[in-house]
């Protein structure tokens, strides 16, 4: 290595090119000049980079980066795109805002737009409790089925969405409370077991219990109806069908009678704009269990579910 520089600039005879002057075990490196096209491309890149730094945001400074002369920002780009999207939706949104939801069914185009918009809003606001497929979980209703606690027509769903369920401070919220028959000592444990047997017998999951039926008539029929078919006025579940919000095993039914779990849903008015709520209602209604608007029926009368 000591004599590295002795041979600097030696002309390689085979190629007529200077070597760089280093030598390792007899291996030398040619000092081949950069191809001209490469060099000019390189210079052009530098010029371009300078222009770019002047025109566009480029250098990070202490507080914020340089802004560039064109005033371009990626946020600005996003705003522009969002505005374009909003403009494109404006007509549909205006039409949805003006139309009472009951009439939506008569406008298939608008209904499709509402369902699509509702599907997007659902994925942001609702999936946390109801799940991505809107199939719910234990204690959180499945929105695909035809079993509705508070009504399954467009208007009823929209009302539920606007006012929420058991939302404090909203006078029109869906409100009901089942007494904690066990925890508050309203019924002794054996009567709770009897009434649980009776409730399960309504959907054929247990043998009838005469004692339970008596307890049911005295304590439960007020809300759930004499046959246990439930009531949408109080949001009282239908006990005769195979759908159990809080579980349908004997232990789960007993637990529910002893210390009821009562779900809540926020009132979405104020959180979401009215059009989005309308779209959500249309989406939930479209999931397969949506009902026709009742022809001026009182909300308390349970529809089509046959009594056992």
């Amino acid at each position: 290595m000591a004599d590295n520089h002795k041979r600097a600039g030696r002309l390689d005879e085979a190629t007529r090119t200077e070597t760089v002057g280093h030598e390792w075990d007899g291996i030398e490196e040619l000092n081949t000049p950069l191809p001209r096209w490469w060099l000019w491309t390189f210079y052009a890149c530098i010029v371009f980079a300078i222009g770019y730094c002047i025109a566009y945001p480029a250098w990070p400074m202490l507080a914020r980066g340089t802004e560039g002369m064109l005033g371009w920002t990626s946020r600005g780009e996003l705003d522009k795109e969002m505005k374009q999207a909003a403009d494109a939706r404006a007509r549909t949104v205006a039409a949805l805002a003006d139309m009472p939801i009951e009439e939506l069914a008569r406008h298939p185009e608008l209904m499709r737009a509402a369902v699509a918009g509702g599907a997007a809003a659902f994925r942001i606001n609702c999936v946390q409790c109801h799940g991505v497929g809107a199939a719910g979980f234990k204690g959180f209703p499945n929105l695909n089925d035809d079993d509705w606690l508070w009504g399954g027509d467009l208007k009823a769903i929209e009302t539920t969405l606007i006012h929420g369920i058991r939302q404090p401070g909203d006078a029109a919220t869906r409100q009901s409370a089942m007494p904690a028959f066990g925890a508050d000592g309203l019924l002794p444990p054996e009567q709770i077991e009897q009434v649980a047997d009776h409730v399960l017998s309504l959907s054929g999951k247990s043998r009838p219990s005469t004692a339970g039926a008596r307890v049911f008539a005295d304590n439960c029929a007020v809300c759930h109806g004499p046959a246990g078919q439930g009531s949408r006025q109080f949001g009282a579940p239908d006990l005769t069908d195979p759908i159990w919000l809080d579980g349908g095993s004997r232990a789960e039914v007993i637990a529910q009678i002893t210390r009821p779990h009562m779900g809540v849903m926020p009132a979405w008015a104020g959180r979401l704009d009215p059009v989005t709520i309308r779209m959500l209602a249309a989406y939930v209604h479209s999931l397969g269990g949506g009902e026709e608007a009742p022809a001026a029926m009182p909300a308390s009368a349970p529809p089509a579910v046959p009594a056992p």
């Binding site: 190629t15 799940g131 079993d147 195979p242 759908i243 046959p306």
Partner: protein, 485 residues
């Protein structure tokens, strides 16, 4: 610079300067074939998009149309949908095998006659001849210093290049949209920017590749000559200079003095002068030879003039060459085609072709695909029955609206309804009118009685009143019962 070093190596350069080619005009058998193929190729290229083909009021009436925007490929009576793209893939494979076949039967005929680079280079070289004169005039002009006359000639020539290039690049876009409409939009400045960009790019490439790079493309840029080099064998037709007959070369005068000493080649270099890639075929087969056979025309003419037999340069195989050298008769060219290798190619090529034709004849214009909702897999309804949801896609691949019926096959007791209907209207059949040339999505709810267990069943689609137009899709019906299979 070529001074030798101690090790004997000289200055080696991998760079070869571009030697401009000024090929002389020649007429002859192969030149006429070349004219014919060139005319055919250009006419096909320029005329095809303007052919009309009536498909009724629901589909475009352009005979050949690659409609990327609507994802359809029209070719006369055939309409290909994206999911049938294997037809196009099959055609491409046939084109590939076809090239192999042509190469093994007649050598680099593609390169010499039909390749777009050859066709357009030929066209541009004729423009050169038209503007600047034949070989010698062009060479003089090339060497002449730049002056008003030379600049004027060059400007005229390049303008014609540009017009041809623009016509070439411009015609391309008509394959992808309705030609008359697009042409109008193009000239009025209302066409899609993509159209202008495509024309600009293709005009530029034609101008550069056809006007200036020419044989450089064949020699340096194109992979095909390299591939062909590996495909040629001793039975492939190549343009051969029969050196055993031609060498040693001598002028006519010299040969007259001592006829026994010299071969037939009079060293007139006409074969070099007419070559569009500027090679000397007498050096033997080489990558630069595109086997256009113009040197055969040139040599035949010279041989006729000096009263010697034709074919000093000729299409011949290596085997022929050896046979001829040994004094045997060469194989007839027609016989060359029927050998195992070409027959295998013919078999593969025709096999794929017949398979495609069969598929084309047997294909139905009705198609059903089904995707099942998996979240949730099933829904328990309040009467105890189980509901599954499916998204069906009904394809009507004909240019008219058709009535189609979907029916349930299997899944006893089940009924279905579409999401634009009600459960009250459920049944085992649904009839819908599917718009012309369209995919019609339909969301279907299938409800089965309480005790139904998870099982497969079939959706049957058939076009009403068309016996063979049907399709089926087997799907799963999920129920709570199968939670533990």
């Amino acid at each position: 610079m070529d001074q030798s070093t101690a090790s004997g190596s000289t200055r080696a350069s991998l760079y070869a300067r571009h030697e401009p080619v000024f090929n002389r005009r020649i007429d002859g058998k192969f030149r006429r074939i070349k004219w014919a193929v060139m005319a055919l190729c250009l006419i096909v290229y320029w005329v095809t998009p303007w052919l009309r083909w009536d498909r009724g009021s629901y589909a475009p009436d352009q005979a050949v149309l690659i409609d990327l925007a609507h994802r359809r490929f029209y070719m006369f009576g055939i309409e290909i949908w994206p999911h049938e793209f294997y037809f196009v893939a099959g055609l491409l494979i046939m084109a590939g095998i076809g090239l192999f076949l042509v190469t093994s039967a007649v050598g680099r005929a593609w390169c010499g006659y039909a390749c777009p680079q050859t066709v357009w280079t030929d066209l541009f070289q004729h423009v050169d001849r038209l503007i600047d004169g034949d070989r010698n005039a062009r060479m003089r002009l090339h060497k002449a210093p730049w002056g008003p006359a030379k600049i004027a000639r060059r400007l005229v020539k390049w303008s014609i290049y540009l017009v041809i290039s623009f016509a070439t690049g411009g015609a391309w876009i008509f394959y992808f949209a309705d030609a008359p409409t697009l042409q109008h939009a193009f000239w009025t400045g209302t066409a899609d920017p993509v159209a202008y960009a495509t024309v600009a790019v293709l005009t530029a490439t034609t101008f550069v590749l056809g006007g200036f790079l020419r044989e450089q493309v064949c020699i340096y840029m194109c992979p095909w000559p390299r591939i062909q080099t590996t495909m040629l064998d001793e039975k492939s037709l190549i343009v051969t200079y029969k050196d055993w007959r031609g060498e040693p070369r001598a002028s006519v005068k010299k040969a007259q003095k001592a006829p026994d000493l010299y071969g037939d080649c009079i060293d007139c270099a006409q074969c070099v002068a007419v070559c569009p890639t500027g090679i000397d075929i007498r050096e033997g087969a080489q990558v630069g030879c595109i086997t256009c056979a113009l040197c055969i025309d040139a040599c035949d003419r010279v041989m006729k003039e000096v009263g010697r037999p034709r074919g000093l340069i000729d299409y011949a195989t290596l085997e022929d060459a050896e046979a001829e050298q040994a004094g045997h008769a060469p194989t007839r060219h027609r016989k060359l085609i029927w050998r195992p290798r070409t027959l295998v190619y013919v078999g593969a090529w025709a096999g794929i072709g017949f398979a495609l034709l069969f598929l084309l004849g047997a294909r139905v214009h009705t198609d059903l695909t089904v995707s099942k909702d998996r979240n949730p897999p099933y829904i328990l309804l309040s009467d105890g029955s189980v509901r599954n949801a499916y998204t069906l896609r009904l394809r009507n691949m004909q240019g008219r609206p058709r009535r189609m019926e979907i029916a349930l096959d299997g899944l006893a007791g089940a009924e279905m309804w579409a999401d634009d209907s009600r459960r009250a209207a459920a049944g085992r059949r649904i009839v819908r009118t599917v718009p012309a040339d369209a995919t019609y999505p339909l969301r279907i709810y299938v409800v089965a009685p309480q005790a139904t267990s998870g099982q497969d069943f079939v959706f049957r689609l058939r076009a009403l009143g068309e016996p063979d137009e049907m399709d089926t899709a087997e799907v799963r019906f999920d129920t709570p019962q199968e939670a533990t299979p």
